[in-house]
Symmetry: C3
Subunit: 344 residues, 3 copies
């Protein structure tokens, strides 16, 4: 079950150079490429001539040339040229609306006419030079909603990520969940603790004593269809937590763009934006590497959970207070899907 | 088709240490671990919180802690603790009765209330210090009954194991099959032959002349649901065969515990118990290594046979005199399955 | 969809030595071996005893001995011997008619009684000492008709094989398609061009100036059920093309035997027969190696096309003039299938 009438991250802007890129989003096979103006475009990954995947072809003069017999497709999905053929009566393929912003290429897998650029959520810290960003991509063989559950309930850090960001105080501290203007927010604040290894390193990198007592926060925000931004950080104890002065805290946003591929798999663009030592590329890389390792730990769990749920189809799960974020997010998705044209 | 109300080998006792072990038996996903007393226990491999496999977790103070969000399960399948939660109303998961004996952990995948410790077959030679044992484990993508057929008809040794235990005299000598107190026995005795390579080595190891004429025996015994014990050996010709004095024979029991995983795959614990040079660990290892190689030769055949049968679903097979052991075993299994509560 | 009442290449004659060979053709699992006279024979790959694949066995005295329990099958599919058994009432397995000719073993997967040796197409250049031949085998996970389409429309060379035999002039030159005595012929003649890399090397190997202007031809001939022979070559410009004197041209036949395995996979025996420097084994090997690399480029495209078509089942494709060869071949196949006994 996915919301089709929505913007999803298809790839990073950097991943789309000269070569086209094939990617399945919400069960739609899509070929992405750059047209003659350099703009990212997306069309069905199906050559109307003989059904070859267009993404195996190459881009020439802003058109996608099928790698089998050379039919050239425009960024609007219109056959534009083929040696020795008149292509004006050839059938078109679907075009998918695209926006390139925040360093990502966003695709709208639903009705093109319904695509609304204003529906793209705002991620100001991804455009702000006062922030640095690094991230990566995983393919996960699990329903994308299991990833949302995962990110909206960070008690799992204690167990899955015991050696980096997990600490017992997390699941000893209750979290609060609320709806806030079309988003779901789950928040946990932990006062007067020692920072776990990942944050100790961040404190050190930012000139703070890693052994100092800190206040820690985790504010997870789900925005439909499937983005989770998590405000995270630690501040010296008693200095105001997330509102502490810049020199008394380390603060970051965990960025999670979760793009359904099929009903049981998804693409997961993860990353971290931070507001300290933003010019330090080595630090960016080291955080990225550490985060990649930590997030990799979730993959096996999610893929095993997926198989376990498939083997136990009728079975009810528990929805505890810690699961409230994921549960609200799922209900929000269900409501949106029911309102879609395809549901009528 | 499997008997559910029965004891199956889940793993060796040695395989179950600090870490839990996930294993599917008769289509049931089971997590095995050791409780606070060190006793092996088995519960459903499904966390009642969010469906994660419990076997990915860890054991703490005799409880199985889910590796996702930390729900602790007791060996009875009862939620016992979770940070920040009251677990007394959490649903339980199934518990599977367990017996640890003969160096193996035995699980009863059927109704727990029906589990009868007295139904565990006796394997005295596995507890007797006058015998030594070595063995291993294979996963086989074939119906477990194909393995029973294989072991209850040793004429295949001539073809599959030509270079170790096979010899032409095997399939030239008729076998006899009989029912004996709820078991199926297939027996072959071959008089006045030369020993094949495996037994020549065993004779030499036991101080006998490997070139001497011998009498050879193979007595296969199937006990439901799916264990096959095979008395095997050679004695100097004319000294009484299996009843010859200890210094005139080499004698062993091939141990086969065949545990259905799904309808088309099984776990195969194989081994050999012997009553000569029992303190010689190097000999144990060398026999184990040789047996592992020999039994590995069966795997390809069984997996190919399985695929061939799946491609020819309606097809009748022959049941010859040499197949009588397997045929009786299958009928015995069918009768037991028909009598099970699940069949009613 | 395949024609069953027809001869298909099962393997090269060289591939069938002492060991049997298992191969699925038109969904029939077949075991091939050589009988006591050295003649290739083919029977069902299913032992009537316990269903083991006979092709895992060995050949002894012209009989196929099952590798599991030793049942010996004759080349007619009749049980001939089994130690300790009377086999005269054992069921037979199917026999498949076989012809060995042109360096290949041909099998008739349909009704044995309908097999007509005269229906084997003639390939005189494969028996003529004035020609040399080299080739190879690929397994392709795609409907065999996608391979026929591929070979009956060589405009794809421009795109798929740009660095070897492709050149822009191919798809700028129209092709002509005609029916000719139960075969489909697609022909393209290109006058006054430079030869592409593969043919430059062939010209050089044959003592011609590789920089000379040439006339190039491609004459693709489909013969049911699924063989495509392609006359290819270049001649010095204006010397008569394919009819030019031998010292003014390089000429070859691309040999394509396409054998359906299942509805979505096939075996592809490809090769090249040439009429120049036929004694030069190193040249044969170098052409074979180059052709293997070129044809390997088609495999990914065909397998991706197959998956794309499976994901878009109802979708219509275009049939352009360049596709006429493949379209005629498909219609010819459909007509033959409708006339088969199995269709009635």
């Amino acid at each position: 079950m996915f919301v089709r009438e929505a913007w999803y991250v298809a790839c990073t802007a950097d991943a789309l150079h000269e070569a086209p890129l094939g990617r399945t989003i919400c069960d739609e096979r899509i070929a992405l490429f750059r047209d003659g103006t350099g703009a990212a475009v997306a069309i069905e990954d199906f050559c109307p001539h003989r059904g070859a995947p267009l993404s195996l072809g190459r881009v020439r003069d802003g058109r996608l040339v099928c790698g089998y017999h050379g039919l050239e497709m425009s960024g609007e999905g219109r056959p534009a040229h083929m040696p020795g053929q008149r292509v004006d009566r050839f059938p078109c393929v679907r075009r998918f609306p695209v926006i390139e912003r925040y360093g990502f290429v966003w695709v709208w897998p639903g009705e093109a006419s319904a695509a609304d650029p204003a529906a793209l959520p705002a991620f100001p810290f991804l455009e702000d030079p006062a922030w640095a960003y690094g991230g990566g991509l995983y393919h996960v063989r699990a329903d994308y909603r299991l990833m949302i559950d995962n990110l909206m309930d960070l008690t799992h850090e204690t167990y899955v990520h015991a050696s980096s960001i997990g600490q017992p105080e997390i699941d000893e501290t209750p979290c609060e969940t609320r709806l806030e203007g079309g988003t779901v927010v789950t928040e946990r604040r932990i006062a007067g603790i020692k920072a776990p290894p990942f944050w100790r390193a961040a404190m050190q990198a930012n000139g703070l004593d890693p052994d100092a007592d800190v206040d820690r926060w985790q504010i997870c925000r789900f925005t439909p269809p499937s983005h989770v931004m998590i405000e995270v950080g630690v501040a010296l104890a008693g200095r105001g937590g997330i509102d502490a002065p810049a020199d008394a805290k380390v603060r970051a946003v965990v960025v999670d763009f979760i793009t359904p591929e099929t009903g049981s798999s998804h693409w997961y663009h993860w990353g971290m934006a931070r507001s300290f030592r933003v010019g330090d590329a080595a630090l960016t890389e080291s955080i990225r590497e550490g985060q990649g390792r930590i997030f990799g730990e979730d993959l096996e769990m999610l893929e095993c959970q997926q198989r376990n749920l498939e083997s136990n189809p009728g079975r009810r799960l528990l929805t505890l207070n810690i699961d409230a974020g994921g549960a609200h997010a799922r209900r929000m998705i269900e409501r949106l899907v029911r309102r879609e044209p395809a549901a009528a």
